[in-house]
């Protein structure tokens, strides 16, 4: 236990001086000394780099190297230099920002005197003084503030993204210490070793005499101000440094996230592996052939002078030579090109003006630049509800107070005359209800200079309740220390807050214990979810109206909160308060123990009523979901909200649509057996209906989910795969993450989108995490790979950016292999006419330039290529299917490129050696002819594969061709470069140009014919849309084409084989059946049916395709 703790001696320069690190923040990865080795080590941990290094080292052996070692070393060094420079630059910037933070001036007490020192010199145990609006330099435990009650306010935006002000308070032991004495304070703080939990600090403080008594005083996160927060609305504050430098909560939570690998990357890696194996095979075959040829033929070739006796290792020379010759099969440039284009994809997302949230001016941000292609391959979207689908702008709409419904007619309780009258007449039930609304919270009222009051709240619900109460003349006016002031119809009522039983997602309720300052009565006020509060009601109370109200509100898609209260006896409270304090100061399992203690007080409630809060859907949510579902993406809603609310939201945003086509199956149950049987039933229905053109979704609640995940993992996995839509309610953050993991483990690409801290784990777990930079702070956005301002941008992010990125990378990577294979095949062919001795046809300069310049530049501009216009894609989201199924980059498309490179190599090689035969067969000329042939072909290949030519594309493709000649003219002008005058000579030959023309015609003719034939007679959907889009005409009507149900039926059946067409008896809607188990009627009792969209079709064939 002691190893887990640190003891901090306050203000003691000797004792704690050097025990812990100083406050120097360092985000640097490298130092000047270790930069080179460390960076090289990191770079060489990748397989591709190791491979290239091996090749480069082999090339140093002059006996076997067919070309100058510079051909590999050059690009290798360039690539490494680029990566290293980027790293160094980033690191330097980090160093600069660290330096700025480290050299800030702060006031610190040293040797009993307040001194101005640099922030980096703060030591653990120092007392640090802060002024208003100053950034906190390290984690401090508060010991004094300018506020007489010891309060201060901090803004934690930099830490957790939440923009509201948080109250921090000095520990009870420090209350009342004189300002003058503060810097003489001595004591010891016992706290855990540094961790990254910014919501928790379980520590104890003991002040040494003469300050107060020698009691241990517990410290919580409430008593701290953390690094990077700002002090607000407080003149000054001072605290003891507990964690410094990189050991602060912020410093510890800074971590390098695991790099995510996209599916495309994985495919490319696999293909690279395949090419590597192919290369080895070629090397072995040629090596053996070479050795055989050497022993049979070469010995007769006297001019070669093979020595007669050779040592055994000579046998290795030829294979190794071929290994080097074939090493270009794996293009050294592909990694660099990919990195380059990927960062450009990310930039396009950042720059996209159509994804700027106009309300807040937040642009989209791609924090992870490496995974844009995955966006185009998303198959499952796990979405949070509140704040993601909805605006998270809560408005109090209706309420039910002691059996009376308010706001049912007008839809707005605040305008309900009855309620207003009830308030005016001082109906005690209503007043109590309003009191709970107004003060059972952690809201801070802030009075501006003009006298108006604004509220700073951590929870949107609380703010909505307080505002609503204020509208009903129960104005929460002031909060100073523990005293709350309420202005009720002009009369000030004061309450003393004795304890706050905070909200946690497990407890699902929060309570405050207040003492009415006038009557001295102690009251427990509580609000929370119905299932957390209603069971705690005292036995006598009739629950039916409240349950009905909850039901009714939930069906309207409103969020419900139950409000309750209980008067406490003085003794009961005092006794409980001791245990509560005890639990609060425990160092182990504090959260659990506190919850347990809270439970002891929260019982026998008198339920006051139910408040219903509306959270409007964000703009464009239904359209976005509809489009993405059409694109074949499965949606899962994972929400902490209750089932009915979730289902209602699901209905209103196209997740679900009422009768008669779909079906919503409910899985619930409180025990293992119940869950099991419910699960089995649902599964059975799923299996049988899966063949029918019918969308079946399931809804599961957190409790059942927990049981299912624990005991029936296989069943739930099968369910997950069968169902395109799921609604999971009442789930905890870790369950969200578990569900994401479940789907991910079935090899589906998952995207998690959320906005709040409870979504962070799910976002990090998913293949792609998208954060909504919303009202719940930036926490989710910060953890995410992409952050967007509104849910509706997801459509553009996936359909436009994801799709383009995938298409472009697919082309670029395969093309990179194509061009490397092309030149490599020519080398291999050449070796057959050069005695299989491993002669390189091309010289070193050409080989290097081929990979680095001639063929890289044209393909890089493919980042601007668009096969379809954005509008077309948005109108036909189904087209995303090609990306999801990996249609554009898979072994078979790769085989196409492989074949093409083989064909082109044959064309170039045969034509070259036939035309440049006999008296023309000079090696230098011929190698240049073959090289030009390759360059011409690749220019036309890029041109043929480009769908839209912008100026840049023309420039890169044709400019590159001109650049090839220009560069070679220059090289030809130098006598020492081995190809002196060659290019000038060739350009003067008619037959050189005739050869180029022939190569292009023979090489491209069949490719063009084949492409045209496919394009016209076997068109893919992309082709049809391209044709439609560019020829105009039918495109206008295209957007409105709906599939015919008759056709649907016909098409889906064959793919599903033997499934019976008539309905199975189990086809009974299970909803009403299983809802009996929970004693809840589900709306009108009819099952929910899902809208049968055409996406159903696309997904069904898409799955078939994936399987085959």
């Amino acid at each position: 236990m002691s190893a887990m703790k640190r003891y901090i001696y306050i203000n003691d320069d000797e004792l704690s001086q050097n025990l812990y690190c100083d406050n120097r923040i360092s985000n640097k990865k490298y130092t000047i000394l270790n930069f080179l080795p460390k960076n090289l080590w990191e770079q060489f941990s990748r397989f591709m780099n190791q491979y290239f290094l091996l090749i480069a080292c082999l090339q140093l052996w002059s006996l076997i190297t067919p070309v100058n070692p510079a051909t590999t070393w050059g690009p290798l060094i360039i690539i490494f230099a680029i990566s290293a420079t980027k790293e160094a630059w980033d690191d330097y910037n980090r160093y600069l920002s660290d330096k700025k933070a480290n050299e800030k001036d702060v006031w610190v007490v040293k040797q009993g005197i307040k001194k101005h020192i640099q922030a980096q010199d703060i030591r653990v145990g120092n007392i640090v003084w802060l002024r208003e609006n100053v950034e906190v330099p390290c984690d401090l435990v508060l010991i004094g503030t300018s506020d007489p009650q010891g309060l201060c306010y901090v803004e934690t935006a930099a830490l957790d993204g939440e923009t509201d002000l948080k109250t921090r308070v000095i520990p009870s032991a420090c209350v009342g210490i004189d300002f003058e004495l503060l810097h003489k304070i001595k004591g010891v703080i016992e706290c855990p070793n540094p961790d990254k939990d910014i919501r928790r600090l379980d520590a104890n403080l003991r002040l040494f005499p003469p300050f107060i008594d020698n009691d241990v005083c517990s410290l919580t996160i409430k008593n701290t101000i953390l690094q990077s927060c700002y002090l607000r609305n407080t003149e000054w504050a001072c605290g003891v440094a507990v964690y410094t430098g990189n050991e602060t909560k912020l410093g510890m939570s800074r971590g390098v996230p695991e790099p995510k690998l996209t599916a495309v990357d994985a495919t490319i890696d696999k293909l690279t592996g395949a090419i590597f194996i192919f290369q080895i095979v070629v090397v072995i075959v040629l090596g053996i052939a070479g050795n055989v040829w050497k022993d049979t033929e070469a010995r007769k070739q006297w001019y070669v002078q093979y020595p007669n006796e050779v040592s055994w290792h000579e046998l290795l020379v030829i294979p190794l030579r071929f290994e080097l010759l074939c090493s270009i099969m794996i293009p050294i440039s592909v990694k660099v090109s990919l990195d380059l284009v990927k960062s450009l994809y990310a930039k396009f997302i950042d720059w996209d003006s159509e994804m700027i949230d106009l309300e807040t001016g937040t642009p989209a941000l791609a924090a992870n630049t490496a995974i844009s292609e995955d966006l185009g391959q998303v198959e499952y979207i796990m979405t949070d509800k509140t704040g993601t689908l909805t605006e998270n702008r809560m408005i109090f709409k209706r309420c039910c107070i002691s059996g009376r419904f308010y706001g049912n007619e007008s839809g707005d309780a605040l305008k309900d005359v009855e309620l207003v009258n009830a308030v005016a007449s001082g109906s005690p039930d209503v007043i109590r209800f309003l009191t709970v609304m107004a003060i059972c919270n952690t809201v801070i009222p802030i009075r501006s200079k003009s006298g108006s009051i604004s509220y700073k709240a951590q929870s949107q619900d609380e703010e909505a309740l307080v505002r609503a109460a204020a509208c009903l003349h129960m104005v929460f006016v002031n909060k100073s220390a523990d005293i709350l002031e309420i202005n009720l119809n002009g009369a000030i009522v004061q309450f003393d807050v004795l304890d706050t039983l905070e909200f946690t997602s497990d407890r699902k309720r929060m309570s405050v214990v207040v003492k009415d300052c006038k009557s001295g009565k102690i009251v427990l006020l509580s609000k929370g979810a119905d299932e957390a509060l209603l069971p705690c009601a005292h036995t006598g109370q009739q629950m039916r109206t409240f349950a009905e109200a909850v039901e009714q509100y939930a069906q309207l898609g409103l969020r419900t909160l139950c409000l309750a209260w209980r008067e406490l006896e003085e003794d009961e409270y005092r006794e409980w308060s001791l245990t509560f304090r005890d639990a609060n100061s425990s160092l182990v399992d504090r959260e659990w123990r506190v919850a347990e203690v809270c439970q002891r007080l929260e019982h026998d409630f008198e339920i006051l009523g139910v408040a219903a809060i509306e959270d409007r859907l964000q703009d464009g949510v239904p359209e976005t979901i509809k489009a993405l579902r059409q694109a074949g993406i499965n949606f899962w809603m994972l929400t902490g909200d209750k089932q009915n609310t979730a289902v209602q939201i699901a209905l209103s945003c196209n997740f679900v649509s009422p009768e008669p086509k779909g079906q919503l199956l409910l899985i619930n149950g409180k025990t293992e057996d119940e869950v099991c049987s419910s699960l089995e039933k649902v599964l059975l229905t799923m299996r049988t209906t899966n063949s029918e053109p019918k969308d079946v979704a399931f809804a599961i609640d957190g409790w059942a989910l927990e049981i299912a995940l624990k005991h029936y993992k296989k069943a739930i996995t099968e369910l997950a795969l069968l169902s395109r839509t799921a609604i999971c309610c009442r789930v905890t953050p870790s369950q969200k993450a578990q569900l994401v993991e479940l789907v991910k483990s079935c090899d589906y690409k998952t995207l998690a989108i959320g906005d709040g801290g409870n979504d962070v784990r799910m976002i990090q777990e998913a293949d792609i995490g998208v954060g909504i930079s919303g009202r719940e702070g930036l926490q989710a956005a910060r953890a995410a790979d992409y952050s967007i301002g509104k849910f509706r941008f997801l459509k553009r992010l996936i359909l436009v950016h994801g799709r383009y990125s995938y298409n472009r990378t697919a082309f670029l990577s395969q093309y990179s292999f194509y061009k490397s294979l092309l030149i490599c095949f020519i080398q291999i062919f050449f070796s057959f006419i050069s005695g299989i001795s491993g002669t390189s046809l091309f010289n070193s300069v050409s080989l290097m330039a081929y990979n680095v310049f001639y063929t890289s530049i044209p393909v890089l501009v493919s980042v601007l290529d668009k096969d379809l216009s954005e509008t077309t894609v948005m109108q036909h989201p189904q087209i995303l299917f090609y990306c999801q199924a990996g249609r554009l980059l898979n072994p078979s498309t790769f085989a196409g490129w492989f074949g093409r490179s083989l064909f082109h190599a044959i064309v170039v090689f045969v034509i070259t050696i036939r035309v440049y035969a006999f008296e023309r067969s000079d090696m230098e000329e011929m190698s240049m002819v073959a090289l030009s042939g390759c360059i011409w072909l690749q220019a036309f290949v890029v041109a043929l594969e480009t769908n839209s030519f912008t100026v840049l594309q023309h420039l890169a493709i044709w400019g590159n061709l001109a650049g090839f000649y220009f560069i070679n003219w220059i090289v030809s002008a130098f006598p020492s470069l081995g190809m002196h005058t060659i290019m000038f000579r060739l350009c003067r030959q008619r037959c050189y140009w005739a050869t180029m023309l022939l190569i292009v015609a023979v090489g491209m003719g069949p490719v063009l014919a084949l492409k045209y034939f496919r394009y016209t007679y076997r068109p893919s959907k992309i082709n049809i849309l391209q044709q439609a889009e560019r020829l105009g005409g039918p495109i206008l009507s295209l957007g409105n084409i709906e599939p015919q149900p008759r056709l649907l039926e016909k098409d889906v059946t064959p793919s599903s084989g033997t499934q019976p067409k008539n309905r199975n008896p189990i086809y009974e809607p299970l909803l009403s059946d299983s809802s009996n188990a929970t004693g809840r009627s589900f709306g009108s009792g009819t099952p929910f049916d899902f809208f049968q969209s055409q996406s159903r079709l696309s997904s069904s064939y898409y799955r078939n395709c994936k399987d085959t």
Binding site: Q305, S834, Q1027, L1038, L1097
Partner: protein
């Protein structure tokens, strides 16, 4: 190309730019809205392309065949016939012996009139000048300048003798072709001009005028020809020609030029010194006399290839037209879009 459909980039960005004027970085590039031309493979475009390839290629093919046809070429394989029948199968002994008479007289008939200049080539078959051991066995530095005389690292095994470095070093120079030809027409000697048979650039830049042969073919195995020690390398044209290594195992190298016209049916007598050993590896030696055309020497390949490609693309064009007529398929047919089962994609 079908330029009919350029991207409508003109109207939307300007509107968008106004709307998001607070974003300064806006540009057509960043929004991926650069105006673009989006050609597609329409029937017309593809058929036109194939027709035009046919129309362009066939005349070029005919012209080049015609040019090749006009080139007069005499090829005489002499390696076999120049070995006296007494040696029978033991050709190797004959060629390696220093005692035997290597002179061989051949008579060639001119089939058609040959306009000067008539190029004399020797052709070697199955000779791997591109072998890896061979092709790199030279020192360009040494050839270029006297200062690099000792730069013979790449020349093994023909780099040094006891007396110092070999100049020119390396296997290529060592195996220099050493058959010689003397031509006479009706007992009148035909002058063979060696002028201009080597590349000027080679003579000027690659072979130094201050580099003289040294220790060449002086010890150990004797490879090919010897060099006159008093002539600088820049003037050793036969060596320079030989050192331009051939990329193919069958190659011709320029031996010289005859600057007079030859008439049809004239008989040329060639006196060959048959010194070079191709017998050990079964290589052929041929003497070639050839005129030239605007398209180079005699090579039917380009002509035939052009005619074939031209013909094939006309054929393709016609079959595409027929296909289009027989089975018309409108482009961009919406009925093919989402409501059919995509047979073509299911595997």
């Amino acid at each position: 190309m079908d330029l009919g459909s350029t991207d409508g980039a003109s109207e939307s960005p300007s509107a968008a730019a106004k709307k998001h004027s607070k974003k300064p970085k806006y540009s057509k590039f960043t929004q991926q809205e650069l105006p673009a031309c989006k050609p597609i493979l329409t029937h017309g475009w593809v058929i036109t392309a194939f027709v035009s390839v046919g129309v362009i290629f066939i005349p070029i093919g005919l012209a080049s065949l015609f040019a090749s046809e006009r080139v007069v070429e005499i090829v005489d394989r002499y390696d076999k016939d120049c070995v006296p029948s007494t040696y029978g199968n033991d050709t190797l002994a004959y060629i390696q012996s220093t005692q035997t008479n290597k002179t061989c007289i051949r008579s060639l008939t001119v089939p058609k009139q040959m306009k000067s200049p008539i190029y004399i080539y020797y052709q070697l078959d199955n000779f791997y000048q591109n072998h890896r051991r061979y092709v790199n066995s030279r020192s360009d530095e040494q050839l270029r300048s006297k200062a690099y005389e000792f730069d013979t690292d790449d020349c093994d095994p023909e780099s040094n003798t006891d007396k110092g470095p070999i100049v020119p070093c390396g296997l290529i120079a060592w195996s220099l072709f050493n058959d010689t030809y003397g031509f006479s027409l009706q007992n009148k000697v035909l002058q063979v001009s060696k002028k201009g048979i080597a590349w000027k650039s080679d003579q000027k830049h690659k072979f130094g005028s201050d580099v003289y042969p040294k220790n060449f073919q002086s010890s150990g195995l004797i490879g090919g020809a010897k060099l006159n020690k008093s002539i600088p390398l820049s003037n050793q044209v036969d060596l320079i020609v030989w050192m331009r290594t051939a990329a193919l195992p069958t190659f011709r190298k320029l031996y010289g030029k005859i600057e007079v016209d030859l008439e049809a049916n004239q008989k040329i007598t060639v006196v060959i010194q048959n010194n070079y050993n191709t017998y050990s590896f079964g290589g052929k030696k041929k003497l070639v006399l050839s005129t030239t055309s605007w398209f180079g020497g005699k090579n039917d390949f380009l002509g035939i290839a052009y005619l074939t490609v031209g013909g094939l693309s006309l054929f393709m064009a016609i079959s595409f037209i027929l296909l289009y007529v027989v089975k018309p398929r409108p482009l961009g047919d919406p009925s093919l879009l989402w409501n059919i089962n995509p047979v073509g994609h299911s595997n």
